[in-house]
Symmetry: C2
Subunit: 161 residues, 2 copies
């Protein structure tokens, strides 16, 4: 299934396939392991990643008043857990993920190993969490992975504390 | 006001005074700065710290089913913010505090500066958060402060990232 068909309306044409991006593969895996009732068993990878792509117009429609929707929060957690998985694949360092959001959609996403923060991101307007395209999603995931790998390589002794 | 009078029933006799513990002073300060309506203005320091002391018998009475009470969560946050304040007083390193609790009372409390975790604690049964006595509260706060100061002194360059 191509991404264009998913919601029955045209989206930005994309040439990136999930199988070409190790980060998108890790993200799909995160979603599938958190699927205890097998809801997504017959869904394509593209369909699973679809909610991570949110256009600017769509973002404007989402209110930033009040709590972050638990589904959106789950999506943020899946993203950073996928980054953690990718860093582990590259460096062998196991890590923990913590996402802390206030009721107003502000907060922190942290990936840490021992006493070292591999990834440290502030979040705002988390209600509108999403990326312009699948390419941007993959690029952001790979970028954070790379900076995490760099940190783990530079301070391996802090990871072991 | 002595701690024994506070709830009208006898508690373990205590000789520690808030003014003798830099950690307890920092904790009292945390509570007072988060008091926008001046509710605690006329409360003694001892009275403000009273809810941090929870006897074993009392803990057993608190259910660990369901969400952590927002007031308890605020108390955990105040504790770790006081640790962060004390570390800053000793080292000059500014830090951030994140407390992430699941709905079942499990989670993490983190104090970090730059990319270094100064304090990293797992929490469980957070619904029952509290200490046996004011002395134990002060001792735990000082111990975490000291280990945070050690970390900041050992890896100052990671704090600056």
């Amino acid at each position: 299934m191509s991404i264009t068909e998913v919601n029955g309306h045209a989206t930005e044409a994309t040439t990136l396939e999930v199988k070409d991006s190790p980060f998108l593969q890790a993200l799909v895996q995160q979603i599938r392991v958190n699927d205890p009732y097998g809801t997504f068993r017959n869904w394509s990878d593209d369909l699973l990643l679809k909610p991570f792509v949110v256009s600017r117009a769509k973002k404007r429609e989402i209110s930033v008043e009040g709590e972050v929707d638990p589904i959106t929060k789950g999506r943020i957690l899946a993203f950073f857990r996928a980054v953690a998985t990718r860093i582990e694949q590259e460096t062998g360092q196991m890590s923990q993920v913590v996402v802390d959001l206030s009721h107003e959609g502000f907060g922190w996403a942290l990936v840490f190993s021992g006493r070292l923060l591999l990834v440290s991101r502030t979040l705002r307007d988390a209600q509108r969490y999403g990326f312009d395209s699948l390419e941007k999603l993959a690029a952001e995931g790979e970028k954070l992975t790379q900076s995490g790998v760099d940190m783990a390589t530079r301070y391996p002794e802090v990871c072991k504390l």
